[in-house]
């Protein structure tokens, strides 16, 4: 649905060129929720704004549904933008217009007739659960409600793509959840391709199918969320993953391991075991630990869901003979679990 090819963007600041995006190649499939994560200043905002050419790339092409936007005339670009919805961190609602008029805005721009506008807006108000707020003004709504208006407005022209520019960053955690749920529902119901940028790994984990990590203007890592999540390759990716699984080996444990003699130390091991998908609900751990002569101690554990995929991650300390420990780790791996020896 979206192809970014060799995309580059430079800003001219004080007559010097400052690169913001370097060599971006990205493909986003139809119907996906694609997340782009990065710190502020990494270029993620510039990147998403290049997709509808709010920022004009210095080089490269932006192909949305087969059309290269960088080659279009101003007029043709305006027409094409109607098929790309966008929502914003600060909602960007018209403060002088009612909720109804805000949602009707893109339809009025497209010069749709009155009956159609009325029907469409009523339908959208229902979709985002704001029917009773129809005649209010944005100042009378809460942040979450404002973002719902933003979403309804972005959907008014039946877009092929929805761009979300830090759509939940100004919202509290509970409201964030409800907005993410709404986006996921829309993605499922309408088959809409969604591109979102965020600095919160939780957003990626909750609704994205794929993720790209951007740092210093480069995409440093990308892949299916589960994969990136469970075996992050780059330091920055690990840092983001740590946002949601904030486990650190306790200092007491480190100290006691430090005091151990070498041969005693060989009988202790701390491993991180990750499950994904169906394995999450099978007693694999039990099977292995039961059959071997060792004791274990759970230090940390998460069982959660990445969008629709269940996953689990346990950090356990194993104690037993060195040979038994090695064999157990092998047995975990044979059963399809991802095992990382931490200590």
């Amino acid at each position: 649905m979206i192809h970014l090819q060799n995309l580059q963007k430079e800003y001219i600041v004080n007559k010097k060129s400052v690169p913001a995006l370097k060599q971006i190649d990205l493909t986003i499939e139809k119907g996906q929720i694609f997340g782009i994560i990065g710190h502020s200043g990494a270029g993620k905002s510039t990147l998403i704004r290049c997709i509808n050419l709010l920022e004009e790339p210095t080089q490269g092409s932006v192909i949305v549904d087969g059309v290269d936007l960088t080659r279009l005339s101003k007029k043709a670009l305006q027409e094409e933008r109607r098929h790309i919805g966008m929502i914003f961190q600060h909602f960007n609602l018209l403060s002088s217009a009612t909720i109804f008029e805000n949602i009707a805005f893109p339809l009025r721009l497209a010069k749709k007739d009155k009956g159609e506008i009325d029907r469409k807006v009523t339908e959208l108000l229902e979709l985002v659960g704001l029917t009773e707020h129809r005649n209010k003004y944005p100042a009378q709504l809460s942040g979450g409600q404002k973002q719902r208006v933003g979403i309804a407005r972005a959907l008014a022209n039946d877009p092929k793509v929805l761009l979300c520019d830090e759509a939940t960053s100004a919202l509290d955690p509970m409201t964030t959840q409800s907005i993410l749920k709404l986006l996921a529902d829309i993605n499922k119901k309408l088959g809409l391709t969604i591109v979102l940028i965020t600095h919160e790994m939780q957003v990626i984990r909750d609704i994205c199918d794929r993720v790209a990590v951007i740092d210093g203007g480069y995409i440093v890592e990308d892949g299916p969320v589960a994969e990136v999540f469970l075996s992050p390759q780059q330091p920055i990716t690990k840092e983001f993953v740590a946002q949601v699984s904030d486990f650190e080996i306790p200092a007491e444990l480190l100290a006691s391991y430090g005091r151990m003699a070498t041969d005693e130390r060989a009988n202790h091991r701390v491993v991180q075991v990750s499950f994904l998908g169906d394995t999450t609900f099978q007693p694999l751990m039990f099977e292995v630990l039961h059959s071997e002569d060792l004791t274990f101690n759970i230090l940390h554990g998460t069982i959660s869901r990445m969008k629709d995929t269940p996953y689990g991650r346990l950090v356990i300390e194993l104690q037993g003979d060195k040979a038994v420990l090695d064999r157990s780790v092998e047995l975990f791996r044979e059963r399809g679990l991802d095992v990382e020896v931490m200590l």
Binding site: Q78, R81, H90, L93, S95, S96, F105, L109, P138, A139
Partner: protein, 222 residues
């Protein structure tokens, strides 16, 4: 009692000159808005980083506005007499006061409009662009409605200024309350006429400001 104090005040004359003032202020406000509004919009749009960014146009407009804003009104009035005569066929009377009033206050209003439009959130403009709005649609459907309260406040300030300028235009025989005050109140030492005209002018300004404030409040959604 009152008529003893105001021996020199001729109600008929007062009513006529009041009408002239309203006429002058009314029409010059109208034309000032017609000139100042587009001028202000153009200045904002051509300014660096805006929709129609154009450095030469922006700077030329800016200099012209500054020149007309820095000229004292009386001097401006005299300077453009030939232009006034060309435009309305005379350099005396109520009609002749309107061109200098408009030229004197349109640049002022343009600056106020500029400030009002700059207050419109950049994000909202960006949103409109992302929805495929043309520049014209952004002006008419976003910038003007969003800045409406501030623009009305600007027009109110300008109108109040025009009441003052119209009185000054009295010096060059433009008619109106200012003319009355100068010819009778000042030149013939009829203090009562002076006081009455001043009271009326102050009252007029109060009414204009009140109406303006009401309208601003009416259109404010924040």
């Amino acid at each position: 009692m009152l008529s003893e104090l105001l021996v020199n005040v001729d109600p008929k004359e007062l009513w006529r000159t009041f009408g002239e003032t309203i006429y002058m202020v009314g029409f010059s406000t109208l034309f000032t808005a017609l000139l100042g509004l587009p001028l202000g919009i153009l200045v904002v749009l051509t300014s660096p980083g805006h929709l129609l960014q154009n450095r030469p146009v922006y700077q030329v407009l800016s200099v012209i506005i500054n020149i007309f804003r820095s000229l004292p009104f009386v001097i401006l009035m005299i300077m453009i007499l030939p232009f006034t005569k060309f435009l309305v066929g005379t350099s005396l009377g109520v009609e002749a006061a309107i061109p200098p009033l408009v030229i004197g206050s349109a640049p002022f209003l343009a600056r106020l409009v500029e400030v009002a439009l700059r207050e419109v959130d950049r994000g909202v403009i960006e949103m409109s662009q992302s929805m495929g709005a043309s520049t014209w649609q952004i002006i008419t459907r976003v910038l003007l409605p969003e800045a409406r309260p501030a623009i009305i406040a600007g027009i109110t300030i300008t109108t109040v200024g025009l009441v003052g300028y119209s009185a000054m235009a009295g010096i060059l025989g433009a008619g109106g309350l200012g003319d009355l005050a100068i010819r009778y109140g000042y030149q013939r030492f009829q203090t009562d006429v002076m006081i009455v005209t001043v009271v009326i002018i102050v009252g007029l300004v109060q009414v204009i400001q009140m109406v303006g404030d009401r309208l601003v409040l009416h259109f404010t959604r924040k």
